[in-house]
Every structure is written in C-alpha cells, then in structure tokens.
Assembly symmetry: C3
Homo-oligomer: 257 residues x 3
C-alpha cells in the first residue's frame, strides 16, 4: 500500500499513560526504523473501550490512506480474547478484538478483519500484548506485510458508537468522551430541537462556543460530528458532574424558556 | 526557505489536551508527509492566550531557522477574528490573530504579518480552525508556500509579555505560567533587589535551585529569561496559591531580614 | 555505531512536564536535524531520580542498538555534580551523574562512563543543563561523536533498583513507580510466596490482571520484570494510598486465608 519512497505512518492510541507507549515505540522502531510515529491519545480513561473507540474514530479519518493505527485499550489482556488486523478505506488497524477498532474502521469504509494467530502471542508478556504482539504486527504491516499473513478472516466483535435513543420529546444518550476543555461528547450525531434541557438547565444550541454568553452552557455538533455539551469559558464536565459512561436525559424545551 | 534535502520542522502548541492535536497532525501529514512534528505543549490553561504566548516564546528560539510554528489558543474560534501568518527571524508562525504568536515572533526579529483570507475558512468546522485552516496552512508553509499567498499584509493584534510595573520599592507583576515543578513564572525579566518579599515571606535570590535550603522559597531568572518563584524540593504554586493570570506584589526587603 | 543511511534515534526522559522538553528537542534538531525523537516520559515525579531510573530502565531495552538516551532528573542542576555519557550494550546514555542512567545501562550490558568536561557547561543556563549541555551532547553522539570526546573515563555514581529485602516470611520493599493505571511497582523482581498480605489484605498472585475478580487486589511480575501490585478494574495506588518512595511490608500468607 505504501509507495516505497514514503515513510509509513503509525498512530498509537492507548489507556497507558506515559510509561508504556515508549516501549511500544521502541518495539516498532526496532523493526520498522523509518516509521513515523504519531500519538493520538494515551490518556483514554483506563479500560474504557468505548472512549478509546471514540478517540480513534475521531482521529483516523484525518490521516492519509496507508496509515497503520495501533490501538490498545485491553481489559482482557492475557485472556482468550483475540487480536485482530482490520482493513478499511485504505487504512489498517491492529489491536484487541473487543470493538475498539470498529467504529473508526466503519467510518472509513467497509471493514475486513483477520485474526492474529496464537503463534504471534508465544513468549509475549501476559500483561503487555501492546508491546509484544500488536506493536510488532504494526511494524510488519507498515513494512508491507499483508493483513492475511497474521491469520484467517474473522468477524470482529462489534461496538456501536452513535446510538442515542431519540424520541419526539427526549433523548437518552451516553457520555463517550470528556475532552481537555471539559466538553462532554455524547453518542448522538444530531440535535433534533432548537431548545434542549439537561438537568433543568437550558442548553443554548450553538454553532460556535463564542455564540454563548460567559459561563453559559451550550450544545453543538462538535468537529468530530458528535453532539457536545460545553460551557463558554468553563467546563461542562464540572457544571454537570459528568464522566464517560454516564447516561443522561436530554429534554426538548420550549423556545420561550 | 527550506533546502530541498531537509525535512521541514513544524512545532505544535495548543490548549487542546490530548484528543485534538493528533487530528491536526493527520491534517498536516496528509499534505506534507515528510514534515517533522514536535509538540511544544498542549496543556496550556484553557483559552489562556497569554500563557500560550509565553510557552511559544520560550520554545521558538531553540528551533532552527526555517521552522514553522503552529499555535492555537483560540477563544474566538468561529467568530470574526482573523487567522494570520507571521514571519520573523527566519521562523514562520501560523494561528489566530489574538496576540498568541507575537511575543515569540518579536523575540526572534522584526515580525511581518499576513492575514489568512476567508476563502481558506470555507467548509471548516466552526469549532476547529486549528485542524481545518491552520494545520493545512502550516503544511503549505512547510512545503514552501509564501506567507503572502494566504492574503494581504496586516498589522497583527499585539500582546506584551515582559511588562511588570517596577518602582524603587515594589514590583506589581502577573503570573504568566506555572510549570510542571510548580515554579511560578512572572512577566518580569529582571529582579531589581537583593532581598525580595512575597506575601510576607522572604524569597532568596538565587542562581540555581540548589542554593536554597530544603523547602526554602527562592526567586531566580529562569532559563527562559523571566523571573521565576520556586521552592527548593517543593512547589511555589502550592506554597503561595498562585495560578496564571494572578497579579502579585513583590516588595523590596532589607538584607537584615 | 550508526550506519550512515539510518536516522539516529534519541529518546528523552525527564521530570519537566510539558514546557521544557520541546526546548531540548529544538536544541537537538538545531544540531542533528535527522534525529528521530521519542519521548519515554516527562511526568516522572519531580526530582525523583529513582523513579526516573526505573522508567528509563523499563524502556531502554526495547529500542534498537545505536539509540541515544537523553535523561534529565536533576535536583543538583547548577551545583558541582557532573554530567556523564555512559555506553552499554550498544546504547549510549547522557545526563547527570546521580545514578539516573545506571540501572538502564546495567540492564543492557557492562557500562563504561565518561564525564562531560566543564568546558561544555560554559554559558549554559544554571537551571537548565538538559537543554544547554545534555541535549547538544545527545545531538553530537547521535551524529557520531565518541563518548570519549566529552572528557575522561570515570566511575559513575551508583543506584540499585531491584533491592527489596526478602526473608522467609516478609519482604520490605520500596515503591519505585506508580503507573497510569494506579499499578504500584516495587523494587523486587520475584514474588517468593503463593499468598501475599499487604496492610492486612490478601493479594492474589496472578499472571494477568483478568485472573482476579472485579476490584480484587493482586500481585504480579509486570511486563518490566518487577513485582507490581494492582487492582482489577481499579487502582492499587488509591486502595493502598501508596506513592513512589514509600516503604512497604509484604507478608507471607497461608493458602487457607
């Protein structure tokens, strides 16, 4: 997929914090010295596969075709869960088969998946497949290995991202990510009403944060395509006390409110 | 400005935390695949243009001529505020026209600025010009585009950094940054007295942190050229309860104190 | 050591947080433009040389021979402490002579060390040798300079990592690192009993985190080769209130407990 004159790009996403990503990078550069490594995020909430899937999906489409995405949010490491390679829209993904890779792959095309055969797990640390299995696989993919060289085709585990339940007067949604501004991103891709109520407070429906008054809460479709609750100059996370995984009820308000 | 055999360096600075910088990097690498990307900081306090300007100024001079600096601390995103390209001392800066780029540009030479024409904003996410306007502009600049290709010359918005008010017996200063050690950096480039009092406590005037006794507060000119209040083996941020934007009064002390 | 067609890898580790690492990177890229820069960690607890030594040791072995490791956790910056270059197992290390580099160097082979002559410190900021001395030295090493070009051979300061005291019925150990999951890593490389008690609680001895029940504490040999106390789906740091530098007593338990 890579033209030979180009350096391959490998993105990295995990819930590892700061100690372990460098070990994955060393494992990659030991095998694919010319790879260009780009961190997506390593502060995904620990073991929150859904939050990791959101972060990966929001970033993957902005990278050029040919990019390999290495993603590890992996509560089942060391158990019987499989490792997979997924190809979609010219991008390749590698990581655990727990749904993490699927929303990103679906956002780029029609995914095809291959399992990573058990032989690749031999000798690996039982607690760090990211370094000992998935990073070497990413290096091999970046160096031109075919996804089918890792094992047979499989149907990967699914994970739906944009699946809020919307009725005429209310929306039941789930918080999928809280970003560095305290903006609360939910699993909805539309805002069906002009006035939205959350926990008794009116959310201004806005196109930009600056449309709201100081400290005013608002709701907008964020740059990632998902609905996002924000507070101008403040933190919606703090105001509403929300965290990833929380379920919230949004209600249709009246324009006179 | 780049010799053709060299890879262009692009630095990135923002208040985005971890989710959005990777999307800017993808947007750059999709257009300038050989660019070398270096993060300056993405944990600038949210929407604190002055703190971001300080971090950019402290770092820019250490990069080689030809570097492109992409900086986005942008409370006015989606409003009528302009985007600009600034050239100074062989470095190029791109970001919002809110003063963020100016102290760094002034520290390197005599800045010249060009606006980024509205045509470059068409189709951009109203909440993420960093990814959809400034990152592509940085990639174009790194690939050899002239700053004047983005729009007409303008006078950019100003922002002064080193502007503490100093009299014979006191200094009124503003906290511009708190670093990872809890060292408190203020907008002064000199310490005019041998003994300095802050909030009733004597600050030892020191050349190095190790000159002070354990847990002793000190004041020094930091490696960035600005006055810095520190506590040996501790945190001045914690001891004095200071944050970026706070105004403080430093008083001249007696040597006998 | 580098083949001329390969880009040199330089890793960076510090306790600097986010503002200062970029300045070291600029200093490197101004001198060794083709270097590939990889962060190991910049959130080492401030001035905790032992925690930094652990993080460096855990990562270094995963990088290819020829890598230069720049590490700066440096409470004595500006004092008479020396700077050193250490070579071991085909890797080169540069930083302060305070033990920081030694466990990593020992993990790769038999270290040889050279001091960095005082001439290299002339004109350096007294508070930032990382940028003004060690980063330029790393760039020179990555460009082919010999370690002996910096000064004479010396015996570096020692630092032992895996030195828990183990008897038949108890182990006195020190916390060396707390990772992003709240896993508590201690200075022991073996777990001598089938049942381990910490602060009155039984730690399940496990090969993988998933072997424990929800919220159950466990002890395992981590991917870094050191004993690690964890809580499945939770934080051992939070449950036991532990931080780097804490001394703990582990006791041998009975299988019937």
């Amino acid at each position: 997929m890579q033209r030979s004159s180009e350096r391959s790009i490998i993105t990295l996403l995990s819930d590892f914090g700061s100690l372990y990503p460098a070990q994955m990078k060393g494992a990659i550069l030991s095998r694919a010295r010319d790879a260009v490594l780009v961190d997506i995020a390593h502060d995904v909430p620990p073991q929150d596969v859904r939050a990791g899937a959101f972060a990966l999906m929001a970033a993957a489409r902005h990278f050029p075709a040919g990019t390999v995405h290495l993603a590890v949010v992996d509560p089942g490491v060391g158990t019987g869960r499989l490792g997979i390679v997924v190809e979609s829209g010219g991008h390749t993904f590698v990581g655990p088969d727990n749904g993490l890779l699927i929303p990103a792959a679906r956002s780029l095309g029609v995914p095809e998946a291959w399992m990573i055969d058990q032989v690749f797990f031999e000798g690996a640390s039982p607690t760090f497949h990211g370094r000992d299995v998935f990073a070497p696989a990413a290096a091999a993919l970046a160096s031109g290995a075919a996804p089918s060289s890792f094992g047979p085709r499989i149907s990967p585990k699914e994970l739906q991202m944009g699946s809020a339940e919307i009725s005429e007067d209310w929306m039941e949604a789930e918080v999928v990510y809280v970003d560095g501004f305290g903006n609360v991103i939910i699993n909805a891709t539309e805002i069906p009403w002009d006035v939205v109520i959350l926990a008794g407070r009116r959310l201004m429906r806005a196109r930009t944060y600056a449309e709201a008054g100081p400290d005013e809460p608002l709701i907008t479709i964020g740059s990632h395509g998902f609905a996002e609750i924000a507070v101008r100059g403040g933190s919606a996370e703090g105001l509403f006390g929300l965290a990833p995984g929380d379920r919230i009820l949004l209600e249709r308000g009246n324009c006179s409110e």
